[in-house]
């Protein structure tokens, strides 16, 4: 190992808030070999790999990879095509809705490969990994092992010089794990120059690596070849060596675990019985006729890979999922979600940490004690007891997020047993926990089982934990392959240990042909046809290809979520219907009542004049002033009239009479309109009266007015509303879909592809935006069809011009979504921010109901600059006024200016590295 290291770290530190992930690390990773980082979860392995791959921003120190400084953006970009990074988590950077081939195509495009080159490489890789048979299966429906193989294919598609794998085999069954490493060996044989950097928590895997660095608490404990580490610590295997390397205080109290034998108490009914337990999700059978019986006080283990049905079986036992077939019995009673009494006898610990991260350790314990109705006086002592017993006293007032995984799991167990359950159901409780913490966790379990008679049903993918169980079931693809004591299973298979026995079972069950990995090294990708320079000048064709990769992926994802597609296409048309018909400013059918103190023919005539108009509907008359007040207060009447006594007499005598009019001003717009109506009707009545009684028209004004309602002669709200509602629909749905589309990548983890591949931020954003612009345009055409053909709102101006404006507008509205997504971290925040920021301003300030010119204060400013205002102007102008570009250009200009401005702002705000 004389060649210069593939990566060199000097004084590298990394902090997340108060937590230190890496603490002044100096490390040189040798090139051209298999280098491994070993250590449990949360010691900084992933952080270190993220820094080396360029996915995370360097906070302190220097990281040099392949001869360049990773703090330098130019070097990072040039390096992207030479590094491949496979993040932690099964298929984390893959797209679950896309098929195997589509995922590979996506990555091929990101690295600028043209069709011929891409297809050739994909074919080679699929053949090499044995995935060819599943080329059309969605990535989300692959088993854990296959997902990791696909991840590897995606990483290898561009022939990297440095392959970075973060815990590639965690949660994968032992057979797939073995195949995975064989595959890596084959590929390395084909490309000897490639460096591989792996992080793993499985010590036995690491034994075959060329070079290792053992990590703990953000520091390097030791480095060297596996043999050097063993020699140094004078231990027989790496797991013991690692424990030996740990600082003194962590090793304290660690001793080899002894499991006292389980004594079967005869005549006791079994605690858990499963008979033919089956569950199907659609056509997929997740659990297939599983049978077992667990005796009281027994530790029963479930072994298998991720997605083999362990968790689902456990959920059926707790009653969370109703089985499609068969039954599960707990304490002789059918597992039933509604049986609260059984639940009190069971403690449950789910796979993911599912306690409240916003409550402290003590608060979590107390809350659960309360919810299980421990007597109030007992709660405090019991919580204190649990804190002592699980050694959490020092952390009692810490939030769980700040605790290492091992401690969090201990807290979960403490919560699960706080109510002294007779049975514990634990779903992978030790996943990702370091060996020492795992052993101390098992000590607690053994104590519960042997000394307190608690039945324990536990699932795990660690073989050495399986060996500690009284009995185990080996599970694969929803079926139990074998079930017995660990010793007997090993014996039956004629193997030396449980792992080999399990692999033997798996091979028998799945058949050789499906899992075989071709051994020929030639299958590994040969040196690239060298189609392109790896570094250097900007290439438009490749840039468009990367953009297209994202656009294509987003489109496919949308097409495969029918609910999203239908709602986004038809939702706007539906809303246009509802709002177009619903919102109207033609004030009609107002309710009024009269307090008629005269009851003369004249007063009745006057009332009739009112009731006869289309604006007013007469309600039962009022008896007195109190009733007037009461009915107006109740909102029954918009208008009340009070006709004085002797109205008729006075009118005949020519005296001036005064009618009392009360208008409901609660809704000012309506009040104002009512006032206008009533004055008009009064004038009209007087003219008719004069004509009838005197035969002449009197009181006519000296001048008249001739009112012309322009653009909308019939004065129909529909004509004014429809061109306003279309812009409304084109902002909410596109902006929300866009914002969630990007933030979703952040939450699900596939955003890593932006960090470590050559795709630029602009390509990423535009690529994601294109499909949403297209969908929005389709819904725009749908709305236009409804407006013109169903509502029969005449489109007076140019359809082409309006469509052009709509295209610019949906670009701007999706840009708003992009902008919000560039800083919102969670989907909830993105949803809330988008909804609040667009809804209010659009509905109130953009001229939909009130002309912008009539606004004042900050609202007037918002209205004047908000892009919706311009599009409403354009839409109304073209729809109702037949205006052309000549009149509308200022609006076009303002609207068009937003698109590049918002895009650039989003690009600036979206980090190209994780902070």
């Amino acid at each position: 190992m004389t060649s210069p290291g593939v990566a060199r770290l000097a004084g590298v530190s990394l902090r997340y808030g108060k937590t230190t992930a890496l603490d002044a690390i100096d490390l040189e990773i040798p090139s051209g070999c298999m280098a491994g980082l070993i250590g449990p979860d949360g010691v900084g392995k992933s952080s270190l790999l993220a820094l080396v791959s360029g996915a995370r921003r360097i906070q302190a120190g220097t990281v040099a990879v392949l001869g360049g400084d990773m703090a330098d953006a130019g070097h990072r970009n040039a390096l992207c095509p030479r590094i491949a990074y496979m993040p932690q988590g099964l298929g984390k950077n893959l797209y679950a809705a896309l098929s195997v081939t589509e995922n590979l195509t996506f990555f091929g495009r990101l690295f600028g490969q043209d069709r011929a080159e891409r297809e050739e490489r994909i074919a080679t890789l699929l053949a090499a990994t044995g995935l060819a048979a599943f080329a059309d299966r969605p990535a989300g429906k692959l088993s854990g092992g296959m997902k990791q193989k696909l991840g590897l294919c995606c990483a290898l598609i561009h022939d990297p010089d440095l392959l970075i794998l973060d815990e590639p085999t965690t949660g994968v069954d032992p057979l797939s794990r073995r195949q995975f490493w064989r595959l890596i060996q084959t590929i390395r044989a084909g490309r000897p120059g490639m460096s591989v950097l792996v992080a793993t928590a499985y010590m036995e895997e690491a034994e075959s690596f060329d070079w290792l660095a053992a990590m703990d608490a953000g520091r390097i404990l030791a480095q060297g070849s596996p043999q050097e580490l063993l020699d140094h610590t004078k231990t027989p295997d790496l797991e013991t060596a690692f424990i030996e390397l740990l600082p003194q205080d962590k090793r304290q109290g660690h001793k080899a675990l002894v499991v006292p034998p389980f004594v079967v108490r005869e005549g006791e009914p079994p605690a858990i019985v499963a008979k033919g337990l089956t569950i199907r999700f659609g056509t997929f059978t997740a659990v297939d006729h599983v049978d077992f019986e667990i005796r009281r006080g027994e530790i029963f283990g479930f072994l298998g890979s991720n997605g083999c049905g362990k968790t689902t079986t456990m959920k059926m036992l707790t009653g969370l999922l109703p089985p499609s077939e068969g039954e599960a019995m707990l304490f002789g009673q059918k597992a039933d979600a509604h049986n609260l009494e059984t639940r009190k006898r069971v403690g449950f610990m789910t796979q993911a940490f599912s306690l409240y991260s916003e409550l402290t350790v003590r608060q979590n314990l107390t809350l659960h004690a309360q919810l299980f109705h421990l007597p109030t006086a007992e709660i405090a002592p019991r919580v204190a007891e649990m804190l002592t017993r699980f050694d959490l006293t020092d952390q009692a007032d810490t939030l769980p997020d700040q605790l290492p995984l091992g401690l969090r799991q201990r807290l979960s167990l403490a919560v699960a047993v706080i109510h002294r359950p007779e049975m514990l159901i634990l779903d992978e409780p030790t996943s990702g926990v370091d060996p020492v913490a795992r052993d101390s966790f098992w000590e607690l379990l053994i104590d519960l089982s042997r000394n307190q008679g608690v039945t324990i049903f536990i699932s795990t993918h660690f073989m050495n934990e399986g060996e500690r169980c009284d009995r185990i079931s080996l599970m694969h693809a929803g079926r139990v392959l074998a079930s017995d004591t660990p010793a007997k299973l090993v014996e039956q298979r004629g193997k030396s240990n449980l792992e080999d026995a399990f692999i033997d079972c798996l091979e028998e069950a799945t058949g050789k042909e499906q899992t075989a990995v071709p051994d020929r090294p030639a299958a590994a990708p040969s040196p690239p046809p060298q189609a392109s320079p790896r570094t250097g000048s900007y290439d438009l064709r490749r840039s468009l290809l990367r953009l297209w990769a994202y656009a294509d992926h987003e489109t496919r994802e949308m097409l495969r979520d029918p609910v999203r597609l239908v709602v986004s296409l038809l939702g706007s048309v539906l809303l246009l219907f509802v709002l177009g018909y619903g919102i109207t400013f033609d004030v009609e059918n107002l309710k009024f009542a009269v307090l008629d103190r005269d009851q003369s023919p004249e007063s009745r005539d006057y009332i009739q004049n009112m009731a006869g108009s289309r604006y007013f509907i007469e309600q039962p008359p009022l008896a007195d002033a109190a009733e007037l007040d009461r009915r107006m207060a109740g909102g029954d009447l918009s208008l009340a009239l009070s006709i004085p006594p002797d109205f008729g007499k006075d009118l005949r005598r020519g005296r001036v009479v005064e009618i009392g009019v009360w208008v409901d001003g609660a809704m000012p717009f309506r009040g104002e309109t009512v006032r206008g109506y009533i004055e008009g009707l009064n004038t009209l009545y007087l003219q008719q009266l004069a004509l009838r009684t005197q035969g002449v028209v009197t009181g006519m004004p000296a001048a008249g007015t001739q009112v012309r309602y322009r653009y909308n002669q019939d004065f129909r709200s529909l004509y004014a509303m429809v061109p306003g509602v279309i812009p409304l629909m084109l902002i909410f749905i596109p902006s929300i879909m866009m914002a969630l589309g990007v933030v979703r990548e952040k939450e699900l983890g596939s955003i890593t592809n932006l960090y470590v591949t050559p795709v630029t931020r602009l390509e990423f954003l535009l690529g994601k935006q294109l499909p949403y612009v297209a969908v929005s345009m389709v819904s725009y055409f749908g709305m236009m069809a409804v407006s013109v053909f169903v509502f029969e709102v005449p489109l007076k101006g140019s359809f082409l011009l309006l469509s052009g404006a709509a295209l610019v507008f949906v670009t701007v509205t999706t840009d708003i979504g992009l902008l919000i997504s560039s800083f919102a971290k969670t989907q909830i925040a993105a949803l809330a921010l988008t909804a609040i920021s667009t809804l209010l301003v659009t509905v109130t300030f953009s001229g939909l109901t009130t002309p912008v010119s009539s606004l004042q204060g900050p609202g007037a400013f918002l209205g004047a600059v908000f892009p919706v205002t311009f599009f409403i102007n354009i839409c109304r102008g073209i729809f109702t006024k037949a205006l052309g570009f000549g009149e509308l250009w200022p609006n076009f200009l303002a609207l068009a200016a937003y698109a590049p401005a918002l895009t650039l702002l989003s690009v600036a705000l979206l980090p190209k590295q994780e902070k």
């Binding site: 999700f281 979600a337 609260l340 599912s354 409240y356 809350l367 309360q370 919810l371 979520d561 609910v563 809303l575 619903g582 919102i583 400013f585 059918n589 207060a633 109740g634 009392g660 009019v661 208008v663 409901d664 001003g665 000012p668 717009f669 309506r670 009040g671 309109t673 006032r675 009545y685 009181g699 001048a703 007015t705 001739q706 322009r710 653009y711 002669q713 004065f715 709200s717 509303m721 929300i736 879909m737 969630l740 979703r744 969670t826 989907q827 909830i828 925040a829 949803l831 809804l839 509905v843 109130t844 009130t850 002309p851 010119s853 009539s854 606004l855 004042q856 204060g857 609202g859 009149e887």
Partner: protein, 374 residues
Amino acid sequence: MRRLVNIYRLGTKEFYSLWHDKILLVVICWVFTGGIYVIGTATSQELHNAPIAIVDEDASSLSVRLIQAFYGPYFQTPSLIPLTAMDHELDAGRSIFVLDIPPDFERDVLAGKQPDIQVNIDATCMSQAFIGAVYIQNILANEVAAFVAWGQETPKSPITLATRVKFNPNLTSSWFGSVMEIINNITLLSILLVGTALVREREHGTLEHLLVMPLSATEILLAKIWPTSLVILVSVTISLYGVVRGALGVPLAGSIPLFLCGTLLQFFATACIGIFLGTISRNMPQFGLLMILVILPLQMLSGSISPRESMPVAVQDIMLAAPTTHFVNLAQAILYRGADFSLVWPRFVAIAAIGAVFFGLALALFRRSLAQSR
């Protein structure tokens, strides 16, 4: 009793959640304070600062008098434009009203020829066009009458109207806009907060954890609703006293505690709609889309933007199934008209009934949605 204790205990945890979500806290604070203030000061659906232009072809003392008759707060100072610019003025949307005073107008008036002034109105501005027309006609008639009757007493109309506007004598729109915006906020936030919390907790597995404990689904759902409703209730109270009554100076006629009771019921009903949406959507984008689909009609057709009476009967009937319709009615009755419980109790019943129906639906779908989340 035991159930109440469970609901209480489980609910207290929500306060911690909200406290940790600073973005949402800022959003809630803003929409109930600054947001209300901006709306209260900015909007007016009735005539306010309406842009008007006048073509004066007469240039007489009467026409000058007419031009001077248009001033604030209803109209902006009229801009004088030539006849040829009239169409463009309206096309460009610079003015909503353009008046054309014909040549020889004053002479014809004095000669008793009753000449007409042409009033051109941009009818795409529905809310202001009609009211503006009425105002303009009144102003013109009064001015012309006063001009003609120079020095004499104008003949009195045989029937005069003593018009009093109840509950909002000057028809100030901030009175209306501010309170309606509070209602819109309650609707939006209740659906958003409760619905997204449900979708998120399901994704994080914390809901499952609760379901294996001795808690019923009813308890879990109610524990999700009450803490948020309390936060909203406090925000609404602060907003009503501090912003609406304090900063905007809107006199609130009725009993605020009675209104707050209604707010609580309304929150319950819309939160149940949020939970219902949360149970039927499989991921956050779906929830976001469904939310928009529900929120817009709830806000825009409830009577808080345009009068309910004028909507088509079918829409009116359908909207009776929406809690917001009843709540808008209730809010107007209590806050503006000072109505007491004896007048508004049917609205309380209606909101409670709608809430109960959605709660039942949500409960029925709740477990099913958990099974689907896998």
